[in-house]
Subunit: 264 residues, 2 copies
């Protein structure tokens, strides 16, 4: 993950690249709330280029901003077009998001393939975009024929109508999944404070010494197996330095507590 | 994709399997709207087992149903628990969804790996689930330690706070992406009405005959190249029977029209 920079439209994105990111084109969207929610999930996954074709309630729409929840840069730089043709005029590869088969001979792509494809086009400097239809009816065939391919999601065929912003969210995720580290650097395991093997061995020896004192290893012939059953799970647990320290404290406390109980 | 059936809680899913599907556990959710929206996207992607831990505004919550948009089966069979421990008590593998690194030694998994893993556990009959925290604060460390692993998304580090329902949506999609056909059967290309090669050859011959009549192939030495430039793009277009018929009509109309124009 690169440092946080601003893209060509001045919006905050954690990317160093100058490659174009896919445009999200909402065709005749109805609810401002959905437009705002789309802005938020776009920015969550690094998308910033929002285009609106003939939004039903005009633009700007005051219902959008609360749902954008901070993604106001995406909201404020959204561009409005009268027609889909104008909205896609600068794009090299356009998808149409739909769950319905059309009486059109247009290739259908699934989510497995589209992320790497869009990333490759973007890396080559080619601008891409995706059309999402209005809430009630979805894209018309006249919209879909303007696309190079249909993108469809692996939905439950018994309940396949996605909310508009949720559909944008899945697309934005697919983009991020192809173009950002799958596990963000903030989780980098190198920061981890893993115990060294000698710390673990020290814990085992301490524990087994105290168990010996308590007469735990009986009969003696079972000692090796019993020891294995102690060491294996604690090794699998992959403890930190601090956790090993805590466990040594536990052993000490139990051993000394046992001693105290005996004294009483 | 299987036929539409009902799962063990009586909800409509398009799956034939009796394998458990991952439970979605919303921990101390605040807004009924988000709970309802989560139901919708769960069902969109074949998830049906919703569990609520101490929902802020009680349960049922009238704000949830409008956002569930038809996924009322998921809503109505949601189960409410007082604690996370109770909500996960029957599960074999539990994830915690968080974008923040914790001072906990718990494995971190990314979205690339988790779909196949959950599918495998499910296929073995092992119930799984995922914890999502409340809108404002997310999961506490006390919640996260109850999980086997943290699941994190490849988010824009400059704007990483997802809406609760959008976070559920991504998880549900990941499940579907691992367990349902990536391109739903409704798009099965076998249904397609692709033209046979002889239809295409017929079109080429018709077109080239009319072009010959019009003196198009000049000079004769360029005929082969000109013919290639006609045939290659029309082959790439992978036309249907109906489209070939339309193109033959075009050739005929242009040829006859030209004749008419000449007569005038």
């Amino acid at each position: 993950m690169g440092k946080t920079t601003k893209d060509q439209l001045g919006r905050i994105v954690a990317q160093e690249t100058d490659s174009p990111v896919p445009a999200v084109i909402l065709v005749r969207p109805q609810l401002g709330e959905n437009i705002g929610a789309a802005c938020r999930c776009m920015l969550n996954f690094g998308l910033t280029d929002l285009r609106l074709v003939a939004p039903r309630d005009g633009w700007p729409n005051p219902a959008a901003e609360p749902m954008a929840a901070g993604a106001v840069d995406v909201l404020n730089t959204a561009r409005v077009f009268d027609t889909v043709e104008e909205a896609v005029s600068d794009l090299q590869y356009v998808l149409a998001a739909t769950a319905r088969r059309r009486e059109l001979e247009i290739p259908v792509v699934g989510t497995d393939d589209i992320g790497p494809k869009l990333k490759g086009l973007s890396a080559s400097g080619l601008p891409t975009g995706i059309l999402f239809g209005p809430e009630k009816a979805g894209l018309t065939n006249a919209d879909v024929v303007l696309a190079d391919a249909i993108l469809t999601y692996p939905v439950n065929q018994a309940f396949q109508s996605l909310n508009l912003a949720q559909a944008v969210n899945i697309f934005a995720y697919i983009w991020a999944n192809a173009s950002l580290p799958n596990i963000p650097d903030v989780f980098n395991p190198e920061i981890s404070d893993a115990a060294e093997r000698k710390d673990l061995t020290g814990l085992f020896e301490h524990l087994e010494q105290e168990l010996d004192n308590a007469g735990f290893f009986f009969p003696e012939s079972k000692r090796a197996l019993m020891s294995q059953n102690i060491r294996a799970p604690l090794t699998r647990a992959k403890m930190t330095v601090q956790e090993v320290r805590t466990f040594r404290g536990i052993v000490k406390a139990l051993a000394e507590g046992r001693g105290k109980a005996r004294i009483k």
